[in-house]
Amino acid sequence: MADTQLWICELCGYVYDPAEGDADGGVKSGVRFQDIPDDWSCPVCGAAKDDFSPQDDIAL
């Protein structure tokens, strides 16, 4: 079963959705957050991967 866990940037509110990926950041759709390269950064504020946390109740 595909991992659909959303991860939010604690600094700017960007939400990483595996279903969307981050095309401009070199991450294809379907890639789990844990599998994104460690040097990837938030596409909105440039924060590091460590600044994200898994969230189940994000206001979207």
Binding site: L6, I8, C9, L11, C12, G13, Y14, V15, Y16, D17, E20, D22, A23, D24, G25, G26, S41, P43, V44, C45, G46, A47, I58, A59, L60
Partner: protein, 257 residues
């Protein structure tokens, strides 16, 4: 995807800080010992922030009333409180560290204006007030105003200026200033995220997005030589990446910011 406006009002409440509590005494003592070249570069940046933060604090007022829902208006109000804090911090830096002349904030702002790049003054003291006035009177819409304020001014101009300051002060030369800029930068990250969410919800015309993208280069150059070329380039790249991230424009083939 970006969190909804109500996320940002709650986030702002958790991040609140006091600009009067930043200790600038060591900075005031250290300032005269910095090299002339370094002081000149830092003066442009810090005086520019003195001018720019006052302007953004003043001109955000009509944004909340122009929003069509309570959560968005509340997030604009929370941002407005942040901007007032930022203006207060940079006025303290101008008075206590740079030693800009003036009996009060308005006189120091005038003194700061004298050393602020012309392109920055054009953006913050002419274009932004004009856009805010147009928004207040219904002559422009919120998407246009947010595009200028949050995407160009905060996302590119202020963001690149903060990066240049943090890089320059990484050696601890002005610890209070650096601590303050770190707090300002933290706030600006959510401001940009919130603005991007607003822009996405407002569904601007594609030609407007194209214009917004094209304006990134000029915005990144507003500081002139005070901001290194690589910092400007990154700010411009991030601008495009943000718009891609919320689907307002497409990713370039093989791109990676």
């Amino acid at each position: 995807m970006i969190a909804a406006p109500r996320h940002f009002a709650a986030l702002a409440g958790r991040l609140r800080w006091d600009p009067a509590a930043i200790d600038l005494r060591a900075d005031a003592l250290a300032w005269p010992a910095l090299s002339l070249e370094r002081r000149a570069r830092l003066t442009v940046l810090l005086a520019g922030f003195r001018v720019a933060e006052s302007s953004v604090a003043e001109e955000l007022a009509p944004f909340g009333p122009a929003a069509d829902d309570r959560d968005t208006a509340a997030a604009f109000a929370a941002q407005h409180a942040d901007e007032k804090r930022h203006a207060a911090l940079f006025d303290r830096v101008a008075a206590e560290v740079l030693g800009l002349p003036g009996e009060g904030p308005q006189e120091r702002r005038a003194a700061a204006r004298a050393v602020t790049p012309a392109a920055l003054l054009e953006l913050f003291e002419r274009r932004l007030p004009a856009a805010a006035a147009a928004l207040a009177t219904g002559r422009t819409d919120l998407a246009e105003a947010v595009g200028l304020y949050h995407m160009l001014l905060e996302g590119i101009v202020l963001g690149s200026g903060q990066r240049a300051l943090l890089d320059d002060l990484a050696d601890g030369a002005l610890p209070g200033v650096r601590a303050g800029v770190e707090l300002v930068e933290r706030d600006e990250r959510w401001h940009v995220g919130f603005g991007l969410r607003c822009l996405r919800d407002l569904e601007p015309d594609p030609t407007r997005v194209t214009t917004l993208l094209a304006e990134g280069e000029a915005a990144a150059a507003a500081w002139g030589d005070a901001v290194p070329v690589h910092v400007r380039a990154r700010a411009e790249a991030m601008h495009r990446r943000r718009l891609v991230a919320v689907g307002l424009t497409r990713a370039a083939a093989g791109s990676r910011a």
